[in-house]
């Protein structure tokens, strides 16, 4: 099965995930997400003013009185040991996750690079600049603190520190901005960097902060929930809840990870990104592009619908995205599989985490594989009849097969599908077992 050309092009070599890190409204560390999901505890709540100094930009009032979202506590970011006065909030948010992903057993890996995804980068710098007396909009073109270049360089410095402070910038370095699939674009580049021999291991992440810029943007799109309740697959939904997060994974070839004594938590066996290209914000409700992404990711992995133990979805409370993902699963896997494969999410704990979403979905898939169970979604008051997939509700469910299909959606019609398996299943496939067609 492996090596077969699919609809979209050649498959990608599987990547072992040898480390993962997360900072979100659920807390600092990947265990905070597990704990929040197990206890059905949400990090979502009323928005609070952000603190003065590097965890700012400082503001006296909440972003939106009465607004809800997923903010990381300032104290958690301020406690980061590498924090500098001039750092934007986006730096500690990403750096804490990056450091966690680098940690782990095994021999050090000298050739480690960084690929990053973010929708707005250090967007607080806009607010700081425009808050200055006499600042003009045009000034942003010459302001070094604004821009992705400075953000990437600062994160490269953080990675170097986390690797022991060799004083040399990690290479290769890249940064992408593609709404909520930004991190998956970075992963595509990281996979190429490894496949083409430029790096032995890549740190891949996504991060965005909940600044006035970001929150105001979703407010302008009239996309936000006013009730503050996340209601996926529910006709009673009233919009999405967004949250800030930084999510990172360390990826490398499975055989190399095992040879150096690392303990991979899972393997990204396939991934595809396909775009609708029909609207600036809304998805194709028929899910055609997402279905192509799902089929492509499964082809990459050499697996079929019968191998999937669980589907994780981007379930932020948007009816059109719920329906699109449901239609795509049906279209790609068939109505029977769509009605039987359990569906879960992590977004009830974190909110929709913007550019961190794609990598956060992979981190969540690793937690599902490790625990062998799926946590329930908030039970719909009135299940949306247009959604024919099967969300887990009520109580956790055991995972039947060590293979998670993680779906990521981003506005502008961006669709990502990633297949994450246990290391043993990946080794079986590589050994020629193949998957069910």
């Amino acid at each position: 099965m492996r090596g077969k050309r699919n609809l979209l092009g050649a498959p990608r070599a599987p990547l072992a995930v040898s480390g993962a890190g997360l900072v979100s409204a659920a807390g600092v560390g990947i265990e905070s997400l597990r704990s929040a999901l197990d206890r059905e505890r949400s990090g979502l709540g009323p928005l609070h003013p952000t603190g003065e100094g590097p965890t700012g930009p400082w503001r006296e009032e909440p972003l939106d009185p009465g607004g809800m979202g997923g903010q990381v506590p300032d104290a958690a970011l301020a406690a980061w040991r590498g924090l500098r006065r001039e750092d934007d909030r986006a730096v500690p948010l990403a750096a804490l996750a990056l450091e966690e992903a680098v940690r782990g057993p095994g021999e050090p890996v000298p050739r480690t690079g960084l690929a990053m995804g973010t929708a707005l980068g250090a967007s607080g710098a806009f607010e700081v600049l425009l808050g200055r007396e006499g600042a003009e909009e045009i000034d942003v073109l010459g302001e070094p603190s604004i821009g992705f270049e400075a953000y990437l360089a600062r994160l490269a410095e953080c990675l170097d520190d986390a690797l022991g402070g060799r004083g040399a910038s990690p290479e290769p370095l890249s940064i992408f901005s593609m709404t909520c699939v930004s991190g998956l674009c970075a992963l595509e580049q990281a996979a190429a960097d490894i496949a083409l021999g430029r790096a032995d291991r890549m740190l891949v992440g996504g991060a965005d902060t909940l600044t006035a810029f970001m929150y105001g943007g979703f407010h302008a799109l009239s996309a936000l929930s006013r009730s503050g309740r996340l209601r996926p697959f529910d006709t009673k939904h009233d919009g999405i809840l967004i949250g800030e997060a930084g999510a990172f994974i360390a990826v490398e070839p499975l055989d190399r990870a095992r040879a150096r004594g690392a303990l991979p938590a899972g393997v990204i066996a396939g991934q595809r990104l396909v775009s609708d290209a029909i609207h600036m914000t809304s998805p194709d409700i028929e899910g055609k592009a997402m279905a192509r992404a799902i089929r492509g990711a499964l082809d990459d992995a050499g697996l079929g619908a019968n191998d999937i133990g669980c589907i994780t979805v981007t379930a932020a409370g948007s009816a059109v995205y719920d329906r699109m993902q449901s239609a795509a699963v049906e279209r790609a896997l068939g109505p029977e599989a769509a009605a039987s494969i359990p569906v879960t999410t992590w977004e009830s704990a974190t909110g929709h985490a913007l550019a961190a979403t794609g990598i956060l979905g992979i981190v969540h898939a690793l937690l599902v594989l490790r625990s062998g169970r799926m946590t329930p979604l908030p039970a719909p008051e009135e299940p949306d009849p247009a959604c024919r997939i099967r969300p887990v509700t009520g109580a956790p469910r055991a995972l039947g097969s060590p293979c998670v299909l993680a779906l990521t959606v981003g506005f502008g019609g961006q669709n990502g599908a990633s297949v994450v398996t246990s290391p043993d299943l990946a080794a079986d496939i590589a050994g020629g077992r193949g998957g069910a067609p």
Partner: protein, 253 residues
């Protein structure tokens, strides 16, 4: 490997002395109108001015490659990788300022403050659905985008990719805006060259096989105007290839 090239400068950039060293930049780019994209763009909405002149450069490259026909409404099979250095910053600043001043901004005000909206618009206009990515990172974004596209082709992940870059730098009046685009494909293409990135340098080498174009004798560097801008590596390739002469009818898709 290269099937089409496109270069475009905003009206202000054509008058800027920094762009005077490349006559190609002085040519007015054929104006794109919503009618050029039937069924793909709302005919009552103008193309977004914050992206100017990126759609023009992309259209020029796609027409040069024979991948797209103006007014047909048909999509091009292929992927899209965009580079954006600072183009989203001014709409971003405008958006943040309106929030600060208590003015309620509209959805488009936010959308065009995102660097990814350039790719979203090009994807819609030309129907490039296979994959979309936007490289950012200031002037280095063009190198990241071109490298990304070359890697995807080399690994066989995609067969045809439009790489397009939009660059904005401050000018004496309005900012100088330039864009460049290349249509890249696996295997033999209309321009018989191989493209390679070594560090920050782009290298173009003639391929031994038959190509559809006769290439000019020597390479020239891109206009000085492109220094410190994301489109620079694409513009370097385009400047070398602009003198290529068509041999026969080789415009079939």
């Amino acid at each position: 490997m290269i099937d089409g090239i496109g270069i475009a400068a905003s009206a202000e950039a054509r008058d800027d002395p920094r762009a005077s060293d490349w006559p190609f930049l002085q040519r007015p780019v054929p104006r794109l109108r919503p009618e050029d994209f039937p069924g793909r763009w709302n005919p009552r909405r103008a193309l977004p001015p914050d992206l100017d002149p990126l759609p023009g450069a992309a259209a020029m490259a796609l027409e040069d490659a024979g991948w797209w026909r103006r007014g047909s409404g048909e999509g091009c099979p292929g992927a899209l990788v965009v580079a954006s250095d600072r183009a989203s910053f001014i709409p971003g600043a405008r958006f943040v300022r309106s929030l600060r001043e208590g003015v309620s901004p509209g959805p488009s005000d936010f959308l065009f403050a995102l660097p990814s909206s350039a790719a979203a618009v090009l994807g819609m206009l030309f129907g490039l659905t296979d994959y979309q990515a936007t490289a950012v990172g200031g002037p280095r974004a063009g190198r990241i985008a071109l490298g990304h596209a070359l890697d995807l082709l080399r690994l066989g992940r995609h067969e045809r990719i439009l790489v397009a870059a939009l660059g904005v730098v401050p000018g004496s009046g309005p900012p100088l805006r330039l864009a460049a685009a290349l249509c890249l494909r696996q295997g033999a293409a209309r321009y018989p060259v191989e493209v390679e990135l070594r560090g920050d340098e782009i290298r173009l080498e003639r391929t031994a096989g038959e190509g559809g174009k006769r290439l000019p004798a020597g390479a020239r560097s891109a206009s000085w105007a492109f220094q410190d801008m994301a489109p620079r590596p694409l513009a370097c390739a385009a400047r070398w290839l602009e003198g290529a002469e068509v041999e026969g009818n080789d415009r079939s898709p």
